[in-house]
């Protein structure tokens, strides 16, 4: 990661809020999200299902459909607010400067177009190129993501490829136009362990070579630890903690982060009960009053039950949202 004093923000999210409507009302899936992504960094966005981590990724790119609605906030990319842009200019940015990798490669790719046609489309949508140059660029990008015999792949259909190959194609498409920011939503969750580590190793290299900023959304702290410079932990639509990977994993300030780390097998001797977080994450329409984590938190007090904690920080980018943060002594 670049020096924190000289690093330049590439994407700034301020107060972004996305709600989902149903017959009973509008329920926020992300609440006033503040997040800055710096040039060339990997930010791991971690949370359990329903925490809002995917909605955050989609909202940044403005990819929210009804019944969802982005209701507040700004997304600044190179000084321009994406939310002020018309759909046409936003479409030009997406897939070029800002690209997204989705979880399920089978539903991301069009089953009736060949790999070459889909890749070509991604290039011609954002600029002209003659057929031969187009083909060259596709082959180069496929080679970069570790696909063997790329020439043949261009004429194949998605169903002819394995899950790992399909995800590589999706990554190749995301990289085609040299994006400045890539948002990857659980890109390895559907894959086997050996294929997952191949993809992680490729992503480490590609990200390093291209210098693009990467937001890696995942529920798996282990995967994020392999990749990320910084980690943001989400719970019930809020970022409850953010810091460098070492800070968050070694010295968590929020009891939820601590709980997540403790519930992974490894520290407790085999056969002994794991330390578990009681209860489960609240549904969108039943966000607890006060701190949303208080019903599951062993440290909760009356203050936690009555008031939602505001974000606090150390001024150097470390932020947490808790009335009773874990101190350095306790964490050790």
């Amino acid at each position: 990661m670049t020096d924190p004093r000289t690093r330049k923000p590439v994407l700034e999210v301020e107060g972004l809020q996305t709600v989902f409507h149903d017959l009973e009302g509008a329920w926020p899936a992300i609440n006033a999200l503040d997040l800055t992504i710096y040039e060339g960094e990997v930010l791991g966005l971690v949370g359990e299902s329903g925490s809002g981590k995917s909605v955050a990724g989609f909202s940044i790119l403005g990819l929210i459909d009804t019944p969802g609605e982005i209701t507040a906030g700004r997304v600044l990319f190179q000084g321009k607010d994406l939310r002020e842009m018309d759909e046409e200019s936003l479409r030009k940015l997406r897939g070029a400067d800002l690209s997204m990798i989705f979880q399920d490669p089978l539903t991301t790719l069009n089953p009736v177009l060949t790999i070459g046609e889909q890749m070509g489309e991604a290039i011609t949508e954002h600029g002209q190129a003659d057929a031969e140059a187009l083909r060259r660029r596709c082959i180069d990008t496929l080679t970069k993501v570790g696909i063997t015999s790329p020439e043949e792949r261009l004429s194949q259909y998605p169903h002819e490829l394995s899950g790992g190959m399909r995800q590589r194609v999706v990554i190749a498409i995301a990289l085609l136009n040299s994006p400045k920011v890539i948002i990857a939503d659980e890109p390895t969750t559907a894959l086997d362990v050996t294929i997952q580590s191949q993809i992680i190793a490729e992503m480490q290299r590609l990200q390093h070579d291209s210098g693009a900023a990467l937001i890696w959304i995942s529920h798996d702290l282990g995967v994020v630890a392999e990749l990320a410079d910084r980690i943001a932990v989400m719970y019930a639509g809020d970022i409850v903690e953010i810091g460098t990977t070492d800070e968050v994993l070694d010295r968590p300030r929020h009891p939820y982060t601590r709980g997540l780390l403790d519930s992974v097998p490894g520290d407790v001797p085999p056969g002994e009960p794991l330390r578990q977080i009681e209860g489960s994450a609240p549904p969108l329409n039943a966000r607890p009053f006060g701190c949303p984590f208080h019903p599951r938190c062993a440290q909760a007090t009356d203050l936690c039950r009555s008031s939602d904690p505001a974000p606090q920080g150390d001024g150097a980018g470390r932020i947490w949202r808790c009335h009773h943060p874990i101190t350095a002594q306790e964490a050790a």
């Binding site: 580590s197 480490q204 392999e226 992974v264 097998p265």
Partner: protein, 344 residues
């Protein structure tokens, strides 16, 4: 390779389930044209797939055997054959000494009730139109274990309490529960017939991290309380390491290594096991630069010649390409199927 039977009988708990040369082949039904060609004596080859290729092992009473492998390795097919959901196409499964395919009458009933299965997907494994109380009462009614309404109610409530759910939940439908709660209902349904053996097929793979720990703890507590035997099928080695006494590693339909959990994690013998262990993502590995194993999982339609792992194995030799390794015992209770261990 039945390593369990070679040890002193008083030192080893009784074998409850034994697999001998177990195989399962899946074939497509021939289409009309192919059947006609068969009639005229020119039968075409219909493609078939060997999901499980000659598996031998024994499961002892009261142990947790972890079965680990990647998708398509045949681990779920193996689990389904052990519970009798699908019949094997070769070899046999014996339960308490008797072949399950030949069971009749009381023995068959003891087997079907004694061996229960917990499925991966808590959403697909519960009937959405039944209330939880009905879901749990059904096995009791079907098997005639309880007919009296009050008795059924009492046992349903006891099962809910045992898995950590409130008894008032019996009147709710599955969609009213979270994934973790649904998996608890699936566990309660398996437990209500008082089984002694549970086949758990990726029971926590669909759950959130914080919920996974809760369900692992439930499995550990139930085992201690009821002296259950588990076959715990998972792709997640860190979970298996925590819960299993012995571990079997499966690759393309075969068991490639089997050992007590502590030994396999401390000192893996098969290159595939080593690969899997190196690649467990862990919060302790920060920005690690590692060499991922090359290649993809081969298709079971066209298994590689010789050792099935040789195209991906960093230590493969000409012999691995030509000759399939046999399973050897390399230490008491440890077997491995790899040419590297032939010299020992």
């Amino acid at each position: 390779m039945l390593d369990t039977t070679t040890q002193a009988p008083d030192a080893v708990p009784e074998t409850v389930m034994e697999l001998r040369g177990l195989e399962r082949e899946f074939a497509r039904k021939p289409v009309l044209a192919e059947r006609l060609m068969k009639l005229v004596g020119k039968a075409p080859d219909t493609p078939s797939l060997k999901a499980v290729r000659s598996v031998d092992f024994a499961i002892r009473e009261g142990e947790v055997l972890g079965l680990v492998g990647e998708s398509g390795c045949g681990k779920s097919t193996l689990g389904r054959m052990i519970t009798g959901i699908i019949p094997p196409t070769g070899g046999a499964v014996t339960y308490q000494g008797a072949d399950i395919s030949a069971m009749k009458g009381q023995a068959l009933k003891d087997f079907t009730l004694g061996v229960q299965m917990i499925f991966q997907d808590p959403y697909a494994s519960l009937n959405p139109r039944q209330r939880v109380g009905e879901i749990l009462a059904e096995p009791l009614r079907v098997h005639g274990l309880a007919t009296d309404k009050a008795d059924i109610r009492r046992r349903v409530d006891a099962a809910l309490t045992e898995v950590g759910l409130d008894t008032s939940y019996r009147d709710r439908y599955p969609h009213q529960f979270s994934g973790g709660q649904r998996q608890r209902i699936g566990i309660a349904r398996a437990l209500i017939v008082e089984p002694s053996f549970l086949v758990c097929d990726e029971p926590i793979a669909a759950l959130d991290v914080s919920i996974q720990a809760q369900v692992i703890n439930l499995f550990l507590a139930l085992r201690a309380k009821r002296n259950l035997t588990y076959l715990f099928i998972s792709h997640d080695l860190s979970v298996v390491r925590h819960i299993a006494d012995r571990v079997a590693i499966m690759y393309l339909g075969k068991i490639v290594e089997m050992a007590p959990a502590q030994e396999i994690f401390a000192n893996p013998a098969h290159p595939y096991t080593r690969t899997l262990l190196e690649q467990i993502p862990s919060v302790k590995n920060r920005k690690r630069h590692f060499e991922a194993v090359k290649g993809e999982i081969p298709s079971p339609h066209k298994p590689p010649s010789g050792c099935a792992f040789h195209p991906r194995c960093p230590m493969a030799t000409a012999r691995c390409r030509a000759e399939a390794p046999v399973t050897r015992e390399i230490a008491p209770g440890r077997t491995v199927s790899c040419h590297l261990h032939d010299a020992n």
